[in-house]
Symmetry: D2
Subunit: 442 residues, 4 copies
């Protein structure tokens, strides 16, 4: 098995975190899956992902003091493996785990994903609990010095055969449930130890090995970022996607910063290997954080976000509560012209990045279509210009063999308006924080 | 109560770690106390300190893999407080704790000390165990992100009234046992977090407050080093001694390095406030580490160590198994001339430090005696010289009011030989790694 | 010669920088000296210091672009030594240097100081200019990789006999002029090289040696800060004062920060060794910076500054143009009660420092007087309290032998009001950023 | 002009540094060019590069003390531009510069390159020398705080129109000489400032702009390394090659380390954009360093070096004195099978890297040939194995569309021996530090 075949294009889906925080339940997951099947599936959206602490009793009940309640009760099987809290996920009762919910999602023609924290439950280690299919016990597998800086549930796993046995037992269980996607947290950048932010490299490898062994093509997503550019090869070898920022939310500063992240990672995108810009913070957000609100992004900013994520080729995970989507937001995530830039075969290339603007190009050798996007990063209307020579050089560097003609017939992908690129420079007047995305045939 | 009055001179005693590691038992502690009372007490030695993991069952039983066995069983009372392992400390059975052993040590005219790890037992937090005299439980007191990088037993304590209640309950228990000295570990420099090596500052303050409240003048010693020079005032406000290096052992490189540490800390010594050079690695060492041996230091190096520790004013804690002391080693630690430099009133001052040599002076305004020591740091016999003008300047800077006379009558304190300091320079021929310490009347 | 005898108390004087920047001239220096002799000398003020670039032609003429004009013309003698620009200092013409101006200052009963940049003029190195009393030339003395990050005039000097010869020639010249005080810049913290901020340690030593050789007791002041606490001993061995901050100006944030600096350095003050809080930014300031203004400090903040500098024992250098001093400012710098805390024998000790307040104590064993100061660091009126037990402990730690009595009769030094300290706590209501300083007999 | 077209394949040539240090002269350059034309040109070798300090009088004459003599005399034209020292380059006399030597090299069908230090001569700045075609003078262009940490000749250039004018004047001159290749030093990583190792980013851009303006397709090579991976895009935008290590010499430790560098940079290779492993340290080396010797690399190590450089796609610059090449060395650099892996279209991919071995694959979509190389990094004979599944995944990730067949017919490129790759693993026994490189048709 080659893990790059598990996700031939950047995964598209929905994730429960941005709206529900730690509190999502079975009914809510199903409602979002239903919506996706009915309205989004035909545009490529397919993953339904249950995010953090589905195993924690009382998750979210002390939200004023803790996001993750220290030393709280966790649902766990007899083999040190966390199980869904049956209060929130009734179908998981009696050891069924997420199998029923996964089956439901599959029945809609969608895929099912879960979040995990790297490691083994702390309480299992303290209780010397058994490991499935192994003579080892959890205290032998857990590394007492390897903790997460922001979540109290787990200890890291030692780089030993016993540790591998634990991860194998985990993936075997998840595969039996029908899990298609795992978002593993506290592993892409273990920021607790500033001098070794890649302290869990061996756990990434162990997860990868366990996936290959389990026989199910489970997509592996690593969190949180920022991923370390000097470890690009290691991510590419072992995972399908890795977060290039810390948690992304609906504020302009973070969106602006994403341009720098994309500059950094543009060379490290290939089929099955996706630097991840994080969830799309649009629509209704924040209920589980006691802060339910419509995205703080302006519509122009939302277009900028969608354009950058798609042109760059990031995985797309919707943060919005789907059942509350309005028409305008829906139009953003169902624009087939924009979405067609997503696959890795459509290779992106930054042309420039200044305080006031960014320019990107992309070229798809399969379709022989070229794209460029002009972004206004300034706080007022601004003319953004690109030279034909720069565009030529950028497209050549991502595989375009021919030369650009004298006159290029452009189509803008948000407005569908036509335009002509004449020598030597093309200029667009763009609102604050907005963008224009042009496509042409080569 | 002013904690500076608890230790008017640098504490002198014995510590179980260098010989026993985690394994010392009651009989061994008593044997060392007996020896101290019989042979060393009259020279000022008085503290008997039981070092790390006296509460851990099976401590040392997996020494090939772990110094501290992860998730092992710890003796604990009903209030989240660790108790002596009764297998090793039979008198501690039935909740007596260290009271009987402390009483024995006191009966010899000596003082009794224990080692603790900062924090609250991890297992107590996971079990939501009660806190004495408080409605809080251990899970509310423990900080799940605050761990020790090298010992798996504890969680750090939150900076809250509940956290203070826990430390108060601890000190109340120790005071009831008759503890005179606490060496708290993982607190002076919490090296796990490289970007915040002083992450337990609040626990130092909480310990200090708990000591003042407990009514017993318990000396507070902080480990491990290196202490942070920029926190000198904070150590001075809250503790009696703090380690200025990581664990010190019997190798020349570490002893040589101590000269740099002493340079750094020489301004921060005062009554009740002692930068600590760590245990004296002489005599028999290492049995608990499966490495029983006579100190690797040459006799000259041992003289250098004793001279530096005393002139600098470091606490003196013997690492040797006392019952196995030989005559030569005994002579080193019972030299009253050398020991008289120890008190803070005898203020030290470095004159120079190069790759090959170090020179220190000291002046005691109470006795009007002055000292200087010449150290040969090179690997062969070497002439070390000091100028009278340098010596004058150094002694003046630590309080000598008068001018040095034309001719100074010196006594060397190890050999008791006499010598004369004539203008402009005094030179001694010193063996490799050795020293000469001179005293004169001002 | 012991350099600690050159400045038995913290130097007090005036420095041209804060008002004139690089532009001060002979007449202006004399006018300030005249004022000092007439009005301030009797309170202890005595140094008149000409600050940076007295050797630069056209200094200040491109102030909109450069503080220090790159590659500008510098007045230099035949031996690579900078000389005063005769346009600004007419008496320096014909090689007289600062001798005439120094003589004028001396005639007023005051002392004369100059600023220098460490190193040798870059242009001298490029021209292979000679060194006085040496066969070496400037290119052999200059280190082409050692530059100042903010001033373009000099190269650092190599740690060689030829380098020492250059510094000897410099000090010999300055001594012949009658210089009493040298403020050397780019030497206390050579911030250009972040990984080695003490890159000019050898030049500090060379300057110290050259001063001892020159036969004149020239006070050595090192700039800029922040001085490195881990080099405290080295500063103490070689210099009389060293800056503990970068340039200090009249804004509250910097004044507030000085409390942290003083906490850091309080252990490293002794006769002849003074951590330096920098110039007193009061009165008229900033003319040479095209920003002439009255100090931005409120009167309360000015009292806080004077109180901290004096209690801590910092050198006092007036930044104000003296001829423009008003009565209120004059009262601040001529308060004998406040100034009497200045000498090192009056040892300071911080009692506490929080976001809202600071408390310091001091004890003078020579006079048996004790002091404590309460500072309100918050932005509104605030009650600041000190416990008697804290005060007792703090004073004991700086040499007070006796115990505080039941009732202490206090005098506040700014208002001269009386008060009583009764058990267990003394409280004062203090305006924002203000202070109260109390004295009592022990 | 698109700079990526200037070097459609990684440049191959000879550089004077490794053999001559700073001392190479015209005759020696010609002799090497002659050899190249006669023996190497037909294999693709074409650049003849004169390395550092061709402008310095007396270069190398104080080699015991300085590699680069501080403040020495530099040949310079009237416009602040350095010129070849006519003593060593007689044809450069009378302002001819390198035009005659370039013409000679061109006459052999080869290309001519020179080394420069970024910046403007320090002496020009101190003398306010003119800039060609500009009213600015050198003091206005030079940044006095921007120096090189290891070479004393230059100041960095300010990011201003005047600075651009200087670089334009420089490239205009070099283009008029017929220069084809510039290796610019102290620019890829300006290590002097540890906290800003990319301090000359603007000078890279200015050089790039000046090249585009000068009308000649001059290849731009940046030194020294290590290049900063987070700046990959910026290098790609502005330069043709950039050093990924500090100076590479003939010791195994550095060669072993190169595998880590290649891991890091493998995603950032494209046509016209080449991460540079530095000169090939083989043949006779070191004469100018007073250390003439045959490469210290074993023959196996030399094969490893050639294999890695070619498979990775590094530029190839010979460090050897060409006229002294022996047959065996010649065979290494004229192996067409190995050299055919060089072009960027042959995309490399690391499969694994451990302490003991490394495995790389490469795929050329133009020829449909695949390669893999097994490297033994251990110090003894070692069996290195690769799995077919790993190889399949690696080749797929660099563009191979098909699946590997059951049986693959391999040819080893150094020995020309045949072998078969059967399921599931292929193993070769390889001498210490040696390699095997296999090619097969897809």
């Amino acid at each position: 098995m080659d893990k790059n075949t598990f996700a031939p294009t950047p995964p598209m889906g929905w994730n429960s975190y941005d709206y529900y925080d730690t509190t999502v339940n079975e009914q809510q997951v199903k409602a979002n899956a239903d919506y996706m099947a009915a309205h989004l599936k035909k545009f490529g959206w397919e993953y339904v992902v249950v995010d953090i602490q589905w195993y924690a009793h009382g998750a979210g009940s002390m939200r004023d003091k803790f996001q993750y309640i220290p030393f709280s009760q966790l649902e766990m099987d007899d083999y040190s493996r966390l199980m869904p809290d049956p209060t929130r996920f009734p179908s998981a009762a009696n050891g069924a785990g997420f199998a029923p919910l996964a089956a439901y999602v599959h029945s809609l023609g969608l895929k099912f994903g879960i979040h995990i924290m790297r490691g083994i439950p702390r309480i299992a280690a303290h209780h010397h609990a058994p490991i499935f299919n192994s003579t080892a016990t959890a205290d032998q597998v857990a590394d007492p010095t390897s903790i997460c800086g922001w979540n109290p549930d787990m200890y890291g796993v030692r780089n030993t055969p016993e540790g591998q046995a634990y991860y194998d037992s985990l993936l075997s269980l998840y595969a039996s449930w029908g899990v298609d996607f795992i978002k593993c947290d506290d592993i892409c950048n273990t920021s607790l130890y500033r001098e070794n932010q890649y302290s869990a490299a061996h756990e990434i490898e162990m997860l990868h090995r366990a996936i290959l062994k389990c026989g199910r093509p489970i997509v592996l997503s690593l969190s949180p970022g920022p991923a370390l550019i000097e470890k690009a090869w290691h991510y590419q070898q072992n995972a399908n996607m890795w977060r290039i920022t810390d948690d992304f939310w609906d504020n302009w500063k973070q969106l602006e910063d994403m341009f720098h992240r994309c500059e950094l990672w543009q060379n490290s995108i290939s089929v099955g290997c996706y630097p991840d810009c994080d969830m799309l913070a649009l629509g209704k957000l924040g209920k589980g954080f006691s802060n339910e609100h419509d995205t703080h992004f302006t519509f122009e900013e939302q277009q900028t976000m969608m354009s950058l994520w798609c042109l760059f080729g990031s995985p797309l995970m919707l943060g919005a509560e789907l059942t509350l989507l309005d028409e305008k937001t829906l139009s953003l995530i169902t624009n087939r012209d924009i979405l067609e830039m997503l696959p890795a075969v459509c290779r992106p290339r930054q042309i420039c990045l200044t305080k006031n603007h960014a320019i990107w190009a992309a070229y798809n050798s399969a379709t022989n279509k070229a794209y460029f996007a002009l972004f206004n990063l300034s706080d007022s209307v601004f003319d953004v210009s690109v030279c034909k020579s720069e565009l030529q050089a950028a497209l050549a560097s991502v595989g375009m063999q021919s030369s650009l003609p004298e006159q290029i017939a452009l189509q803008e992908l948000w407005s569908t308006e036509k335009a002509d690129f004449l020598q030597p420079m093309f200029t667009a007047t763009i609102p604050a924080h907005g963008c224009r995305v042009y496509r042409f045939e080569v």
